[in-house]
């Protein structure tokens, strides 16, 4: 038996549905071939993990909780959502979004960024104060 055939038959071997002859051949190959042997062990491990997960059972009060939720959901009219509500909800979301965008634009227009203005005219700013002062000092003298 070659590895390809062995890999093909591994599932059936694990499930115990192979003929006696084929089972003996697969078993012999698994003893000889390390790679196929490892592949077999991996699958056994995966099976055991799945079986462990299958052992997890729901809590005892699950039925009661489901029935309680059912009670609440029908009381709040959850069962039959009217077509009006189906349309109203998205319409309300769209309207709110549009209003938010509009408000954003409006606020953006009201707010004017402050422009840095010179506190004095450009001509005056360019005058060298130190030079003027020194002229004054000289004239006093």
């Amino acid at each position: 038996m070659n590895c390809q055939l062995c890999q093909k038959k591994l599932d059936a071997y694990r499930e115990g549905i192979l003929s006696d002859d084929m089972r003996t051949q697969v078993k012999a190959h698994l003893k000889l071939c390390a790679e196929c042997g490892e592949s077999y062990r991996i699958q056994l491990l995966a099976d055991s993990v799945v079986n462990d997960e299958k052992m997890i059972i729901p809590d005892n009060d699950l039925t009661s909780r489901i029935m309680a939720r059912l009670e609440n959901s029908t009381e709040t009219g959850y069962r039959n959502i009217s077509p009006f509500r189906k349309v109203l909800k998205p319409a309300l979301i769209i309207t709110s979004l549009a209003a938010a965008i509009f408000a954003g634009v409006l606020i953006g227009n009201i707010y004017k960024p402050s422009v840095r203005e010179l506190s004095q005219p450009l001509e005056l700013a360019l005058i060298d104060d130190v030079a003027i002062e020194s002229v004054d000092i000289l004239s006093n003298q």
Binding site: D52, I56, D59, I66, L70
Partner: protein, 210 residues
């Protein structure tokens, strides 16, 4: 009382009769949810949602298929939706996984009192490894594997649930098993390497302590 009779009673206003269906099918639905979600709390929540959904759409049950088949369809769709939501956005996924690890929420198979910490750790690692391999399968293959391995359904039953032929399901399961085999071997090699690294780390520290 058959399922159809119970359903007729429920539809005629006897809401409490729904309890009969819940008690009969809750384990089945829960197992399907566990197969997809691998988390007890999530499976519990989803089972509740599925029964609520089933109750709300009971009017739509035509009786063409059995009630269990119909319920399985709802369970599979709801589970896939939940999985899609969970894996929806990488950022949310990361936040979610962070929150889960912070809460210690990752759920692993029950542990017996006789297990030692090392074997518990190995079992948990194995669970995660197999779950990841299962979760990485394409949706249709994953569904077929869950229904066949977790719910032990026959190919005919799976074909009824997925509304296809038995031949198609046989081929799908074959593909899923082959795909799973490849993914399992690949991740097993990675996990083995990781374990070897951990063992050498521990032995080095043991030597240092000596």
């Amino acid at each position: 009382m058959t399922d159809s009779e119970v359903i007729i009673k429920i539809l005629s206003g006897d809401r409490d009769k729904f309890r009969v269906l819940v008690e009969k099918y809750q384990s089945m639905v829960f197992r399907t949810c566990i197969g997809f979600l691998h988390d007890k709390d999530d499976a519990d929540d989803l089972t509740q949602d599925i029964f609520l959904q089933a109750y709300q759409s009971l009017n739509g049950f035509k009786g063409e298929a059995s009630f269990s088949t119909w319920l399985y369809r709802i369970a599979v769709n709801a589970s896939l939706n939940k999985v899609r939501k969970k894996t929806g956005h990488p950022v949310f996924q990361r936040i979610d996984s962070f929150l889960q690890s912070a809460k210690g929420k990752e759920v692993f198979p029950p542990v017996s009192d006789t297990d030692n910490p090392e074997s518990i750790l190995i079992r948990q690692e194995n669970s995660k490894w197999v779950q990841n391999a299962l979760d990485s399968l394409p949706e249709n293959q994953r569904t077929a594997i869950v229904l066949s391995k977790y719910d032990d359904l026959s190919q005919k039953e799976i074909a009824d649930i997925l509304n296809t032929t038995e031949g198609a399901i046989e081929a799908l399961i074959q593909r899923a098993k082959a795909n799973l085999r490849v993914k399992l071997s690949y991740s097993y090699k990675k996990i083995k390497k990781h374990r070897r690294k951990n063992i050498s780390f521990v032995s080095n520290h043991k030597n240092e302590l000596k």
